[in-house]
């Protein structure tokens, strides 16, 4: 008890000293200190808020061989360089789109990520999804039918991903390689993929009770699936990575990452 009393006295002494010290300081300095403190906290909070609201990350996803890497370099440099092989790691870059570079001076750069499409590397996509502003899902319009099921499954996984649903991340279904004559039209591809996803919806909702991690079911119960039913906006576009015809993709990106 004595100890406690001693401590109390000691604390009181310190308190008095502190008060005296404060009284010695001119009030202007005090105000200034408080002001600085407030300012920094506001700044930090605002930076965090700012970041959260306006992410500039755009993801390029899709099956292996659909032309993501070529599209990435087409958007960045306006050239395919010497072609590409299967990616083993994501390509990342923060830049102003190639065509805009020429036209205007000041535009907000886009953080573009090309995530490898190989199924072993799919897990990489999940790392990027929480901070994505938009997703471009690239589909090979030339070799579409053999890959239709795999592509639909991948798209289904993306559309039912928690962060995609929660943040309502818009998805662009980009039909690549449309410069070739035998390429399928975007309407055909959209319909086929809707059909596939409809089938998947049936089988997956059965499986998910086991433990595949799709927390959300797509579409409206009792109706055929359509991309319009998605929580997020899904649009369809055509592009050609090889010839550099990427206007629709750029438009889409700029819609969600404002210049």
């Amino acid at each position: 008890m004595d100890n406690l009393e001693d401590l109390k006295i000691l604390a009181e002494q310190w308190f008095h000293q502190g008060v005296e010290f404060f009284q010695q300081i001119p009030p202007t300095q005090l105000y200034a200190a408080i002001g600085v403190l407030l300012l920094t906290t506001i700044l930090l909070v605002s930076i965090r808020l700012f970041r959260r609201t306006k992410s500039n990350t755009v993801l390029l996803s899709g099956l292996s061989g659909s032309g993501k890497t070529v599209l990435f370099y087409q958007l960045r440099d306006g050239s395919t360089h010497q072609g590409a092989v299967t990616s083993m790691e994501p390509n990342e870059g923060t830049f102003v789109l190639h065509t805009e570079n020429i036209k205007k001076g000041k535009t907000k750069p886009v953080h573009l990520v090309d995530v490898p499409g190989h199924s072993r590397l799919r897990s990489k996509l999940e790392e990027y999804l929480p901070r994505a502003a938009a997703i471009v899902f690239v589909v090979d319009a030339l070799e579409f039918l053999p890959n239709c099921r795999a592509a639909s499954e991948y798209l289904y996984d993306i559309l039912t991903n928690t962060s995609v649903v929660k943040n309502k991340i818009p998805v662009l279904l980009c039909c690549n390689k449309t410069d070739k004559v035998t390429a399928h039209t975007k309407e055909f591809i959209r319909k086929q993929m809707e059909k596939e996803i409809e089938k998947l919806r049936v089988s997956r909702s059965a499986v998910s009770s086991a433990d595949i991690a799709n927390d959300f079911t797509l579409g409206i119960e009792g109706e055929l699936f359509s991309f319009l039913h998605c929580y997020n906006k899904v649009t369809v576009a055509e592009a050609s990575g090889l010839t550099g015809d990427t206007d629709q993709v750029q438009e889409f990106i700029r819609e969600y990452v404002k210049p």
Binding site: G83, V85, T86, S87, E89, K199, D211
Partner: protein, 633 residues
């Protein structure tokens, strides 16, 4: 000839290809390499074989992990190009110097490549020639004046001289790499050197030359003998060094270094074409001396390598203490600043520990070794970030690798496949195969139960016509689950029974046919043949390999043999490999989950189900994350 050489980033952008060669590759060997080798954690392998229509390529590759570059060389398999490894490492070194992440076109590399290629080719040529000298008699005669008496004695030594030549080559390579050191000659001079030595070696091919090779050997030999047989005067210095290196096989690199230093000056001697005569004369004397003790030489051959290595180690001892002195301080310094580049020797202890940990988790030894090799290949030369330990870096890389392996490559959504088959109005056929007593029938019943829950009509086919009681066992399950069973009793051909079962299913509109087969050991040829027949006759949609999670090293053998036998014995030779794995008895193994990894790695097929108990409901999907966590715990 070399078909193609590519340099690309890990991101997949091609930075440079050899336009000069310009042969269009048939098929897409590069993409296949990446997909089926590099991404499957097999990058520790030496080479990759690619087969396509009318093209058989061998691919070799090397990584520059720090810059994230991949170098791949493609050549026809029938040609055994010796210089490819050499060329790749040369290209790697010189390309790393000019690489800039912002630059996309490297047209100026063409010239450098041409030089490097010439160099590598000439070196390989040289190597081959020196080897040929030793081999057939006729060849030697063509070269002429080597006396026969010298031949027999010299034969082995010449072949060894080939070896030392190779080391010379290594020395050259190192010099090219060390250009910036300034201690060696410039690039051009280097080239000249090698060319002149070529001239001396290749064109003239006179006695002098051969004799010179012999002489070099002789010198080495005599040195070695002295170092060894002689009164161990070197021991005071050499012993320590040699012991240290013996204890640490990891330090092989230093050994090689030694040989260069020893041999490089000798190669310089080759350039003084004037003095060759003198040398040659001297050496003839040496040869004669050596010939007398021919039989002894052969004996000595056994430990001459020993003596040589001891000889090698001797100067190594000079470097060793220095390195040790440096050790403590530099390690503290490095941990703060981050190590410049990870080397094989740095990674080895961490990888060894990791390998052991994997093996205690019941991963087959072979698989653990291969995985570690692959991780090593992916980390070597990388920069270590500051305030990270090597072990944590290695662990991170291993975790990535494991996740990548265990993530299924193909869709494991069976229900989806069942619906697809239903649309085609045919039953979806699943065949369960495996060794005896792993739980094929039990898990077949579990799968049937799971399918029933999802409104799929199932039929069982009792194709275990071998073990007594098997049909009754299945019948009991069928009764409990209220599903039809197709059976024809015992002693029938299982392939025929399965066929009839499928026909029956088509008739009565069942969606899925689950075919139970007899358990068989992977080495039992007749039974494997029967299984192969069953699979080829019925062409099932899914061949499920049932394996128990208790299995250790045998998992590799089981799966690889099953896979092999099924593809060997199939008349068409195409499909009919294992499509998926059903892991049973998973509840009995606690944290020893390694079998899952071994099986997936060896077969490339995903784990589709995990059996984890006795009741019908005990069927799960594999949770990749928890498996990886358990493996690295």
């Amino acid at each position: 000839m070399l078909e193609q050489l590519l340099i690309f980033t890990r991101g997949g952008l091609i930075l440079w290809t050899c336009k000069e060669i310009g042969n269009a590759l048939k098929g897409s060997p590069i993409d296949t390499l990446i997909r089926s080798c590099l991404l499957e954690e097999r990058s520790g392998d030496v080479s990759f074989n690619y087969d396509a229509h009318g093209a058989a390529y061998t691919l070799k590759w090397t990584f520059h992990n720090d810059l994230g570059l991949v170098f791949v060389a493609v050549y026809q398999r029938i040609l055994h190009l010796l210089y490819v490894d050499d060329l790749l490492s040369l290209v790697k070194q010189s390309f790393a110097e000019i690489y800039d992440p912002k630059r996309m076109a490297y047209d100026d590399f063409d010239e450098t490549f041409r030089q490097l290629r010439k160099e590598a080719e000439s070196r390989a040529e040289e190597l081959r020639k020196t080897k040929q000298v030793g081999k057939p008699l006729g060849n030697v005669k063509k070269q002429g004046q080597v006396s026969k008496s010298g031949l027999e004695g010299g034969n082995k030594r010449i072949s060894e001289s080939g070896g030392s030549k190779k080391d010379d080559g290594d020395g050259n390579k190192a010099k090219v790499g060390n250009l910036t050191n300034g201690h060696s000659n410039g690039n051009h001079q280097m080239e000249d050197d090698s060319q002149t030595s070529d001239l001396a070696n290749g064109k003239e091919n006179t006695t002098d030359n051969v004799a010179l090779d012999l002489s070099k050997l002789q010198k080495l030999r005599s040195k070695g003998v002295r170092g060894r047989g002689g009164i161990r005067k070197a021991d005071s210095i050499g012993n320590k060094g040699s012991k240290v290196t013996a204890a640490e096989p990891a330090k092989k690199a230093t050994k090689k270094n030694r040989v260069w230093d020893d041999a490089a000056p000798k190669q310089e001697k080759l350039d003084f074409t004037d003095s060759v005569d003198e040398n040659g004369n001297n050496d003839h004397v040496d040869i004669v001396a050596a010939d007398q003790g021919e039989s002894m030489m052969d004996k000595e051959e056994v430990f001459s390598s020993d003596s040589e290595s001891e000889d090698d180690d001797e100067p190594g001892s000079d470097e060793k203490p220095e390195a040790k002195k440096k050790g403590w301080f530099s390690s503290v310094f490095q941990s703060i600043t981050g190590k410049a580049n990870l080397e094989r020797t740095d990674l080895e202890p961490a990888l060894k520990a990791l390998k052991e940990r994997l093996m205690t988790k019941n991963v087959a030894e072979e698989i653990a070794g291969k995985l570690c090799e692959s991780v090593e290949a992916s980390l070597e030369g990388k920069k270590l970030a500051s305030f990270t330990r090597i072990s944590s870096t290695v662990q991170g890389a291993m975790e990535d690798a494991l996740v990548r392996i265990l993530t299924p490559r193909r869709s494991i959504d069976i229900l989806r496949d069942v619906h697809a088959a239903k649309e085609q109005r045919r039953p979806y056929v699943v065949v369960f195969v495996g060794v005896n007593g792993v739980g094929k029938s039990t898990n077949l019943a579990k799968v049937a139960y799971w399918l029933l829950q999802h409104n799929v009509s199932v039929m069982m086919a009792a194709c275990d016509t071998f073990r007594s009681g098997a049909v009754e066992q299945l019948r009991t399950h069928a009764r409990r689950l209220q599903i039809p069973i197709f059976e024809k009793g015992y002693e029938k051909d299982p392939a025929v029974v399965a066929k009839e079962a499928i026909q029956e299913a088509t008739r009565n509109g069942s969606d899925v046919v689950l075919v139970d087969t007899a358990g068989r050991m992977q080495d039992n040829e007749p039974l494997m043949r029967a299984l192969s027949k069953l699979i080829n006759l019925n062409n099932p949609d899914l061949v499920l390999f049932v394996g128990e999670a208790l299995v250790g090293n045998d998992a590799v053998d089981q799966l690889s043999k099953f896979n092999q036998k099924l593809s060997d014995l199939s008349p068409t030779g195409n499909r009919s490999l294992i499509d998926g794995i059903l892991l049973t008895k998973f509840d009995t193994i606690d944290d020893k989950v390694g079998a899952a990894l071994s099986m997936v790695y060896i077969s490339g097929a995903p784990v589709m189900f995990v059996g984890c108990g006795q009741s019908y409901t005990d069927l799960k999907k594999l949770n990749v994350k928890s498996i990886v966590k358990t493996l690295l715990k």
